[in-house]
Symmetry: C2
Subunit: 151 residues, 2 copies
């Protein structure tokens, strides 16, 4: 009746081989570790992802960020507002279509991104330490297939 036994009973009897549940539980741990690792930069995993896209070569607009991160456009407004207030990103006008705003990391944004990224990578390494590099790559490939399914 110890703790370990309870967890084992539950793992064996229900949900333990349900992909959705495993995905959810792995994700909860991942978010917790990510937010903890990002605390020093005052980012969270959500704002970090936006900053990472803004700092990439892709020059995304808000709608593209929303679709890629599976967020509602209105959520992206809030996230970008916050990053912009902190001077980490800018809303650049798109010459071709004046409705759209391209989100770009500022110099300061790039500096913070470097710190944030290494913190995240370090946290992941710790969290995934019981997977080999090959296993991690397999996992990434399989998740990519799920994550970018038609829907």
């Amino acid at each position: 009746m110890t703790d370990a036994t309870a967890a084992e009973r539950l793992r064996d009897s229900a949900l333990g081989d349900d992909l959705s549940f495993l995905l959810a539980r792995a994700n909860v741990l991942s978010i917790a570790a990510g937010n903890a690792a990002l605390a020093a930069t005052r980012l969270r995993v959500r704002s970090y992802s936006v900053l990472a896209l803004a700092g990439s070569e892709a020059r995304p607009n808000q709608r593209e960020i929303a679709e890629f991160l599976r967020l509602d456009p209105s959520q992206v407004v809030t996230l970008v507002d916050d990053l912009q207030k902190r001077g980490l990103v800018d809303r650049a006008p798109d010459i071709a279509d004046r409705r759209t705003k391209v989100i770009l990391a500022t110099e300061e944004g790039h500096r913070v991104l470097v710190l944030a990224r290494s913190a995240v990578i370090e946290a992941e390494r710790r969290l995934h330490s019981n997977l080999s590099d090959a296993e991690r790559e397999t996992l990434a490939e399989l998740l990519r297939r799920l994550a970018f399914t038609g829907a």
Copy 2:
């Protein structure tokens, strides 16, 4: 500059091989599909997991449910309250320790669980249709290692 191209640019340039991000995105899709599939039973993925544990042989108490699902004990109170109001689970007293309450599915709970489970399985099958059975098993095994890491 079409949609597909934007997504591809983003996938290639940032986050696209970040395990945490892939996990998060796959999970968002999984939750959305799960909630949609469960709509007819008026469950959500969260209450479904609790009901599934209550309907298992494991006879978990609330604290065990909280730890297994990585929820706060107070969240489990709310979830169980709701399921109990609907007559799907009971709080059974533990003879050995009168503080703890064992959560058990009622007959009606088991009936609903059967429907819910098949809806969830069907939704997963659709969502994971581009993985082979072997790949799905590999994915489950790797996720299990992440999901039940020490932390």
